[in-house]
């Protein structure tokens, strides 16, 4: 099999920008992505959708167009609909696409798998009609589908963006139930100076808030005791705000309290991670090019720590420059010269983050759920189950997995991992780093025997 210079997993902003930069430097690049069209989640289907409802979605969405255009390069092979299920040392990436297995050998790999919604286990969050706010965004971007009777719950700027887009589309949300408090705001104030360097983001936030106010959408803040009600699907939400119990009948509940790096691929090849106390998530240990403890592996974008789409694209370019220099396509002087302005722009993009992280912290009742709340959606394990296992000596998430099956369902811990680790850390009075995270093993996504059998020519080199 031919060995390509660089294989990139994920065609979001980081992956697309990296592919273009590496290709322009002369590298041969294979870009693998699960979706049919490039864009990742933030620019989902932007090529097709921008002309249809670009105005409704706003400039931040249309900004993805130059990135997808950059993929039109002779050195880039974009394999769409490709689900990566294993990464092997060497490097060999195994994937399935259109019912067939495939394998790619490469000298270097860039993991650009982006972010996942931070799990938000609240009573009733497994009911039909409850989705992540990100899911609502994807429904609107890709499919033009909006909930008619939705309540947005949690904290963070994404809630305001979705509310504003729903208002523009003529289906405003019924209410915003927000968990951040006045104390969070006061804690965030010292970061306001730094945030002013990213004033465009603050300005955008204030504009969206005034759009929400003008539309008459009610905002409740410091909400607590949130529970979603319904038998066969969500039909209402209860919470306490302003000292009063509230109930809002609704069909859809959209949850969001931040996004966290999707670390599955990196963890599966033993990239070291640590707990980031400011962002409340595990992030990979990286050098200032996105390099990891595994020499051939770089990580860029939100999978490296949450910085947003613009910062992700810039980080993708840095990792591509480093890779191009490592493989001798450009000199280190060329690399460093090109990197300098990129680093300045990244610093500007990230300036607002400490303020945002402090003003919109994760909702405490979802990071420390009540005993009866399901925390592992796949295996229907409750927070109480995990605490009980901690009580009989379970110290780490891999033990908890064996004790309870938490994290052993098809999502492989993507929507329970952080909760399980934080429940164990709290019960055992240990740090998140001491507690650790699930060991992630291939297959990263389910693969059928039929797909393996149809691996075709590549199977020979894959097994030799």
């Amino acid at each position: 099999m031919q060995i390509t210079d660089l294989v990139i997993i994920g065609a979001g902003p980081a992956g697309m920008a990296a592919a273009a930069t590496a290709a322009n430097a002369g590298l041969h690049v294979i870009l693998l992505d699960e979706q049919r069209r490039p864009g990742g989640q933030i620019y989902r289907d932007v090529d097709r959708v921008a002309p249809i409802r670009g105005e409704l979605l706003g400039k931040d969405y249309i900004d993805g167009l130059p990135l997808t255009a950059g993929l039109d390069h002779g050195n880039i092979t974009h394999i769409s609909g490709a689900v990566v299920w294993s990464i092997e040392e060497g490097i060999r990436v195994l994937y399935t696409a259109d019912g067939r297995g495939g394998a790619i050998e490469a000298k270097r790999i860039l993991i650009a798998t982006g972010a996942l919604e931070r799990p938000m286990p609240l009573p009733g969050w497994t009911l039909p009609g409850v989705m992540t706010a990100g899911a609502a965004q994807i429904l609107l971007k890709q499919s033009g589908v909006l909930s008619k009777n939705a309540v947005l719950v949690g904290s963070g700027p994404l809630l305001y963006l979705i509310a504003a887009q729903m208002i523009r589309a003529g289906t405003p949300p019924l209410a915003l139930v927000e968990t951040q408090t006045r104390a969070d705001f006061l804690r965030a104030l010292p970061h306001l100076g730094g945030a002013l360097r990213g004033w465009r983001y603050l300005f955008k936030g204030l504009t969206m808030l005034s759009e929400i106010r003008r539309a008459g959408v009610r905002r409740y803040t410091s909400a607590t005791n949130i529970s979603i009600e319904g038998e066969t699907s969500a039909d209402g939400i209860r919470f306490i705000a302003g000292g009063k119990p509230r109930h809002i009948p609704c069909d859809t509940v959209l949850l969001h309290h931040g996004v966290v790096p999707n670390t599955q691929a990196a963890r599966s090849i033993d990239v070291a991670h640590h707990w980031d106390a400011r962002q409340h998530c595990f992030v990979p240990n990286l050098d200032d090019w996105g390099g990891t403890n595994v020499e051939t592996v770089h990580i860029a974008g939100d999978g490296a720590g949450i910085g947003g789409a613009k910062a992700a694209a810039l980080a993708g370019r840095l990792a591509a420059l480093k890779t191009a220099a490592d493989l001798g396509a450009i000199s280190t002087i060329e690399r460093d010269t090109a990197a300098k302005p990129i680093r300045r722009r990244i610093a500007r993009e990230l300036a607002v983050r400490p303020f945002l992280d402090a003003v919109f912290p994760p909702a405490i009742e979802a990071t420390k759920p009540a005993d009866a709340t399901i925390i592992c959606r796949c295996e229907e394990i409750t927070a109480g189950d995990i605490r009980r296992h901690a009580g009989i000596g379970c110290v780490g998430p891999n033990q908890a997995k064996a004790f309870s099956r938490a994290g052993m369902g098809p999502c492989q811990g993507r929507y329970c991992g952080l909760t399980v680790s934080s429940l164990l850390a709290e019960a055992n009075s240990a740090t998140m780093d001491e507690t650790g995270y699930y060991r992630i093993r291939p297959p990263l996504k389910p693969v059928t025997l039929g797909e393996l059998a149809a691996m075709g020519g590549s199977v020979n080199s894959a097994t030799n």
Partner: protein, 104 residues
């Protein structure tokens, strides 16, 4: 299963094609995201969990949560990762633990 959808679908002018889910005929926009189209057509429950039999529907829409599983040609697939094709025949994943036992 809901009959009136709690979702609004912005018109894109895609031709509608028949798709069967649990024997019920749905008219869905060809080439659109299957999970989104099913939600817009009023499908409230996509499956029942193998553990407790609880109803589930799409949660993440990005291929990560596996809550939107449906069965296509005997294989359990994520509806949010499929496109609507003419004459697609879908059912809820069969009872039993074939889904969750397939990994780890």
């Amino acid at each position: 299963m809901k009959t009136a959808s709690s979702f609004l679908e912005l018109e894109e002018g895609r031709p509608l094609v028949p798709v069967w889910f649990e024997g019920r005929e749905l008219q869905l926009p060809k080439g659109s995201n299957l999970a989104a189209a099913m939600l817009a057509a009023g499908v409230g429950t996509f499956r029942y969990t193998p553990v407790s039999g609880a109803p589930r529907a799409p949660f993440c829409m990005m291929g990560a949560c596996f809550d939107c599983l449906v069965e296509v040609d005997g294989v359990t697939r994520q509806a949010c990762m499929l496109e609507v094709t003419d004459g697609l025949r879908l059912s809820m994943p069969r009872k039993g633990r074939d889904v969750t036992d397939a990994d780890n």
